[in-house]
């Protein structure tokens, strides 16, 4: 009996020991070895990003030229003034526009510059005098009687960041300074809306964060045409020669690119990287048959058929297989001798001066007629040198549209100086930088918040250290960008926003983030039950048995005592 008792005791302690081992060592070990590695993400900072309050600050300098203010008014000019405009775009995004205006009178050298005969020369002279920082605007108020602007024009916007504004209120004796300033306010507002950002542009740039359907039709058209912000773009210039037997075309594209396109791309360097290449395609035809129009004695392409031109050609245009950047294609088509000259007609059946058309987010096509270069009895093939300045003029304007410089028509009373050879005026570039910075900030914040949400929802995804690092650096850069926008440093803000967006894209599109393919709970049980059940059943049963014996033992003891 004692032996049985000892056996029973041994059995009991064995069962208890095994149970203890399983619970104390086994369960934690199993838990640790089956958990997915998830590096720590700065969740608190990310949730801050969900509600984005952007403040955009513009530094405006208003310079009064001689003759606009009386001497008493000049003494009372305030040094600076701040004006704020608040706009709540939707429940998570708010905008605040701050215009910090500083007033001063013109210096002697500036007065000399303003004495130039034409506005363009005055603008050039002023540009050499001062160095304006990125994002700021300088407005020179000139007297009403000034001859710099034509009579009906009130504002002249130059090539750099300066504007000449004709003062409406003549320096009437008795008109106080506040009235003068108040009269200038709406005009200055208009100038700033043109030269700097305006509400539609910024709202359009925020579309990534907003629910669809919030933007207006016009801003939608603009946003559809320009490419979204991307770290780089590929630009390809192609010459299509469908008729090499008759036309032997020469185009000096390298020199033309150096002279006309690269200046613009160099200026755009803070925005994105560009890679440019060119090619010549022979026997490439347009997919549409042009119709002969006897009245113009030319072949015509109507506006509706233009949409079908691009697809057959696109199959033959190559693209760089190594990069995933968006591609802009600019095609120069020289019609074959049978179908020359070829002109494009718009909706109103009128000839188009540029003889070119473009497709949003794709590029442009220009038709270049060479039938005037040779007569009927020349010996074929004819050598033809293409006038690259005409071609590049069209391509440059199309390129500007594709890159996001809007066709801002001048508001009434404004004269906008065209950009000329550099391709883009400084203030146009500033406009683009404002909208790009806002767009980058919006996209980066949307990416990070949705990534954090996704990682929360799907517990199975492994979060590696490099992703956590990317997210952390994206959040830091984003906060820096927002801070710089608040401070008014546009160039730094753009740089930080580019860092933020590239880090957030890299984190979001990391190949390791594909979640372990759908593991429903019932499948998990199906895996664990055959492993653990055979082991756990004896342990549980023996524990129960021990427990019952202990109970019994206690009951006996109590009965004995009683």
């Amino acid at each position: 009996m004692a032996a049985v008792e000892v056996e029973k005791q041994r059995g009991r302690s064995a069962a208890v020991a095994i149970a203890a081992l399983v619970i104390a060592a086994g369960i934690p070990l199993w838990w640790k070895t089956t958990e997915t590695y998830r590096a720590w993400l700065p969740a608190a900072r990310i949730s801050e990003l969900e509600a984005l309050q952007l403040e955009l600050r513009v530094e405006v300098e208003v310079v009064f030229a001689r003759g606009t203010l009386s001497p008493e008014q000049q003494k009372k000019v305030p040094a600076s003034r701040m004006r704020e405009q608040q706009q709540q775009v939707d429940d998570k995004t708010g905008l605040k526009f701050t215009y910090e205006t500083r007033f001063r009178t013109a210096t002697v050298m500036e007065e000399d510059a303003l004495n130039q005969p034409t506005a363009a020369e005055a603008d050039h002279a002023l540009h050499t005098l001062t160095e304006t920082s990125c994002g700021s605007v300088v407005i020179y108020i000139i007297p009403e009687a000034s001859a710099l602007l034509p009579q009906d024009m009130r504002v002249y916007v130059g090539r750099s960041r300066t504007a000449l504004l004709r003062s409406q209120v003549a320096s009437v004796v008795g008109a106080g300074l506040p009235e003068v300033l108040a009269a200038l306010d709406p005009q200055m507002e208009q100038v700033l809306q043109t030269m700097s950002f305006n509400h539609q542009d910024v709202t359009a740039a925020l579309t990534d964060r907003l629910r669809p359907g919030l933007s207006t039709r016009d801003s939608l058209a603009d946003s559809m045409r320009a490419f979204k912000s991307s770290p780089g773009y590929e630009i390809t210039f192609s010459l299509l020669n469908p008729d090499p037997k008759h036309h032997q075309l020469h185009w000096d594209v390298e020199a033309a690119l150096d002279a006309y396109i690269y200046p613009l791309l160099h200026k755009m360097a803070p925005v994105a990287n560009f890679s440019v290449d060119s090619q010549i395609l022979y026997y490439a035809v347009l997919g549409v048959n042009p119709r002969y129009d006897a009245s113009a004695s030319a072949y015509t392409l109507s506006a509706d058929s233009l949409a079908h031109v691009i697809n057959p050609v696109e199959a033959r245009l190559g693209s760089n297989a190594a990069s995933s950047n968006p591609v802009l294609n600019f095609l120069l088509y020289v019609p074959d001798s049978l179908h020359s000259p070829l002109i494009i007609r718009n909706d109103q059946k009128q000839e188009v001066a540029s003889n070119a058309f473009h497709s949003p987010r794709w590029g442009g096509i220009m038709v270049y007629n060479v039938d005037g270069a040779y007569g009927n009895d020349t010996q074929f093939p004819v050598d033809i040198a293409i006038d690259m300045s005409r071609v590049m003029g069209v391509f440059l304007s199309q390129l500007r549209l594709m890159l996001g410089f809007q066709q801002t028509g001048a508001p009434p009373g404004f004269v906008l100086e065209a950009a000329g050879r550099e391709g883009v005026a400084e203030w146009e570039l500033d406009r683009l930088l404002w909208s790009r910075s806002v767009e980058n900030v919006a996209t980066a914040s949307a990416s990070i918040t949705s990534l954090a949400q996704l990682l929360d929802q799907i517990a199975n995804i492994v979060i590696n250290d490099n992703i956590a690092q990317q997210v952390a650096s994206a959040v830091t850069a984003l906060q820096a960008a927002v801070a710089e926008l608040e401070a008014g440093n546009l160039a730094l803000a753009l740089e930080h926003s580019r860092e933020a967006i590239s880090a957030s894209e890299r984190a979001f599109f990391d190949p390791s983030l594909l979640h372990l393919l759908y593991f429903p709970d019932d499948q998990k049980f199906a895996i664990y039950i055959p492993l653990f059940l055979p082991m756990c059943v004896p342990i549980l049963l023996s524990l129960l048995k021990i427990f019952r014996e202990v109970q019994q033992h206690r009951a006996e003891k109590r009965a004995k005592r009683d």
Partner: protein, 377 residues
Amino acid sequence: GWKRGSSFLPGIDVTDTKLSTSAFLLLHQARAERFFRSDHTNNWAVLVCTSRFWFNYRHVANTLSVYRSVKRLGIPDSHIVLMLADDMACNHRNPKPATVFSHKNMELNVYGDDVEVDYRGYEVTVENFLRVLTGRLPPSTPRSKRLLSDDHSNILIYLTGHGGNGFLKFQDSEEISNVELADAFEQMWQKRRYNELLFIIDTCQGASMYERFYSPNLMALASSQVGEDSLSHQPDLAIGVHLMDRYTFYLLEFLEDIHPASQANMNDLFKVCPKSQCVSTPGHRTDLFQRDPGSVLITDFFGSVRKVEITMETINLTPHTETALAYVDQLPVAQIIHQKPKQKDWHPPDGFILGLWTLILLVFFRTYGIKHLKHIF
């Protein structure tokens, strides 16, 4: 006229163009009108055949028919991601190699001669499909294997193979569930990787695959409801297998009548293959789609009709001075192209073989006697 060799005028001078307000208004009007039938600027298509083995010939034929229609209507290869799990055209059991037919009279060879398959054979897996959709591909993936869509892209996704209630079988070894698919679409929406998406699936119980969608701007069509099987069309006795599924057969017939300028809309697509022809009941889902299906053109998804605008503005540039191009002194070709000297084949020294045979003969005669010599000479 311009002749080669003419010199340009020196001096750099640029004239200005100033836009007037009337041109500005005209610009805006024309621009706004042209754009707003739909707001996409490019089209993409992801066409997936998920089954392998010869007897699943019809699934490859299905996918290739849609591929053919989509290419014909204008979407270029660079915008199509074609995934075929097996090669039927060059299969050993194909009695007509290099062809994939859609009809038993072999009227239409959907394989054509310019098929570009992006994911082939064992590369067609659930993981790769989800990676293509979400964009989470390794950096070494070439452009042709990526879906580089943006927020103004309309995407057509076509899946075919063997499926069941809530899943689609890939390669006979794994499956994708409707929850995963819905999550993938949601991730695409979060990153604004599509403007509108049309999802077509031709499998058994196909409608179960679009039950779980919850992202906006999705329209879905399936060849059969839950509990129904999608049937194949007809076998070909010469090839020995069923050539196409019914739904896609009638879809192909419908699409053959569409041309790039056609105005057929989605309501016509919903009517393709009624129960009398298909035996199963095709279904569709449009509640997540913002526009009315009657205003959505077939070519919005199957074709690639571009929006174009006339370029009204040009910049006047005057020709620049031709700078004398200085060419670097050219190296001789042999220095530029470093070639290893061509290795001549090694021959043994002259007379070696002759001497070797003489030696052999001498040894022979020495061993067996000189009397054999007369048999040689």
